[in-house]
Amino acid sequence: MNQLVKGTVRNRHPFIFIAPALLILILFSLIPIIIAFVISFTDMDLKGLADWSNISFIGVENYTNLLADTVFHKAVFNTFFYVVIGVPLVIFFSLGIALLLNYGKNLVFTVFRAVYFMPAITNIIAIAVVWGFLYNTEYGLFNYLLSLADVDKVPWLEHPVIAKLSLILLAVWKGIGINMIIFLAALQGIPNSYYEAAKIDGAKRWQILLFITIPLLRYAIFFVTVTTLIGWLQFFEEPFIMTQGGPLDGTVSMALFIYQRGFQFSEFGYAAAGSFVLFIVIIIVTLLQFKLRKADDDI
């Protein structure tokens, strides 16, 4: 024991360096998570917030209520709908665009790099206003273009399934930029000698792409998949600003459900239970990915 303390003191420098990060992590992440976990077993509401003696432990009631809550069922279904369709689209398009942009270095490519990155740095409120106009059933641009081709008005945000797809379209458009930059950086990190060797061996373009570029992008693809998946499981901003969860709860996501319960109806205990379910889903999905990835490494 004494030995251990002495050893720690002697090698204190690394600990001092990670201490600030660790402290912040504990203070702003771990402790709140633990408190939220405790709250999820209480009936905490506004009254409880004002005076803690009004809070009482109600066991797993919040969780059993969640399981019976039809809106929560819809939120779970919608979230998986978003993830299953949205995540592959984001990865496919950001990788595709990165590959195309990597073909050249002249002005056109630079300009388009900026164009594709623009949505990622645009304020979400501005996006909501513009897309709200685009999606408007009566005078929106999309419906106007469709009317030129004699297509009937599409209720972009007013039909449960179409509204979900509209939000996915918006989120994909917004999500491409940042992932594209990650892919571009990874692409530029591939040594040119591989390509030269391939060319000397007479490899065709698609062979180079399939057997050199993609395998060497493995780490980037894995990183983008994990972060995108976590991001999409917490799908929030788009339904929050565009539809507030409607129509018929068709666009409510788990994160939005939690927000509404917690900050609109002040049911903090219930919202905490919801956020814990989401937390566990995210952990399971992420662990699953690491597991699959390990299997991939073994080959």
Binding site: P155, E158, Q264
Partner: protein, 407 residues
């Protein structure tokens, strides 16, 4: 998409604010500073009003904090959690019950006699609802708003109405005729996101909101909702967001709608060419022509150390003359009955309609679950209008849910 662990920031805010509660009260730095929280536009304008008060009371400085509406609720939550709030706060009438229930508002009952301006009879009957919670007096109405009917006089004339429709039947008839007058014309616009509109119809049909155990399957309520949803079923109102109401009103696509007093200025600003072609009228009647009353109250935070100063300030703001001055500055309607005798309001053709309507109003029921109940009803209505659900079944299940929400 990026909203990491929503509960986390909330919990953090709670924890931090409790930790910081020890350091300094919320009542500003100096002993004679009265801190006031006001929301939205009013918050920005209130600062100009306090100068006159400070001149009269040189030993008091009023520190107004303007809080945007969309942050107001969070800000109030934090104040409640930390017990670290202002001395005086402006509170939207629908929030009163919730915060009063949490014990955030000081009971003013014992001070009522000292301040004649606070007398309940000074205010509209509907507004008195928001002053009380249980047996306490928790707020003094500052300004009020009510819903009336805006309509295009010229278009209604064309379908044979030289006066505004005065009954439910006339409204339905006029709206139907207007809808038939052209493609994409919706005779009556009903805002589906507005929480109070279904209740306005229900009140007009004689429904009483029993705050203990309301009956939403009663014939009065059911009939009102049948009337409300029939507009959507028959295509007289649209469920789709469509064109902005101002533009649609201008184009004649939505020639009738219900809204509050703020719309007068918006219409004057954004549709100046329309002048003389539109008017406001009191609500069409069934059993009665009740409308809702809303607005904002002044309350004193429960642990304020400057109760007397706070009450004095509120009393000053609620004097008839100050209210008139405030009305001119902010275009909000005064809560004091006496203020309405002023020719600026009584002789104005628009405002006098609001004055008349205000006599016949009810406030949102003073229950802390109001927001939840109202939102649940909107979901039910959405299922009927868009999802094609059966009205009676929906009301049955809404009734069950609402009653389980209300403790």
């Amino acid at each position: 998409m990026k909203k990491k662990g929503l509960v986390v920031p909330a919990v953090l805010a709670m924890g931090l604010s409790t930790a910081l509660a020890g350091c300094g009260g919320g009542s500003g730095d100096s002993e004679n500073t009265l801190s006031v929280w006001a929301m939205g536009e009013e918050g920005k304008l209130l600062d100009e009003m306090t100068e006159a008060y400070e001149e009269e009371n040189p030993d008091v400085t009023v520190d107004v904090q303007a809080i945007p509406w969309d942050q107001a609720y969070d800000k109030l939550l934090t104040a409640v959690a930390s017990g670290n709030g202002p001395d005086v706060l402006q509170l939207g009438t629908t929030w009163v019950a919730e915060f009063a229930d949490a014990g955030a508002l000081l009971d003013l009952t014992e001070h009522m006699e000292d301040y004649p301006d606070f007398n309940l009879d000074n205010y509209f009957e509907g507004a008195q609802t928001s002053m009380k919670y249980d047996d306490q007096i928790v707020g003094i109405p500052w300004y009020v708003e009510t819903r009336t009917m805006y309509y295009r006089t010229d278009l209604l004339e064309e379908v044979g109405y030289s006066e505004a429709p005065a009954t439910w039947d006339e409204l339905k008839d006029a709206a139907t005729k207007l809808s038939e007058s052209g493609e994409d014309v919706y005779g009556l616009d009903i805002d589906l996101n507005d929480q109070i509109t279904p209740f306005i119809f229900a009140w007009q049909n004689g429904f009483e909101f029993d705050t203990e155990n309301p009956d939403f399957t009663s014939p009065e309520f059911t009939e009102a909702l049948e009337y409300y949803t029939s507009y959507f079923e028959e295509g007289i109102s649209t469920t789709s967001e469509g064109i902005d109401i101002i533009q649609a009103f201008k184009d004649g696509q939505k020639p009738i709608f219900f809204s509050g007093p703020w719309m007068i200025n918006i219409l004057n600003d954004q549709a100046p060419d329309l002048e003389g072609q539109w008017a406001v009228a009191t609500m069409p009647a069934k059993e009665n022509n009740l409308s809702s009353i809303g607005g904002a109250n002044f309350s004193v935070f429960h642990n304020s150390e400057k109760v007397d100063e706070a009450l004095d300030f509120i009393s000053y703001m609620n004097e008839v003359d100050t209210q008139i001055e405030w009305m001119e500055k902010s275009n909000t309607l005064p809560s004091r009955l006496e203020a309405w005798e002023d020719p600026k309001l009584a002789d104005d053709e628009m405002y006098s309609v609001f004055g008349e309507q205000l006599e016949n109003t009810k406030g949102a029921p003073p229950i802390k679950e109001w927001e939840k109940v109202a939102q649940e009803l909107l979901s039910s209505i959405e299922r009927i209008n868009i999802g094609g659900a059966d009205l009676d079944e929906e009301l049955e299940s809404f009734n069950e849910k609402a009653n389980s929400m209300i403790e």
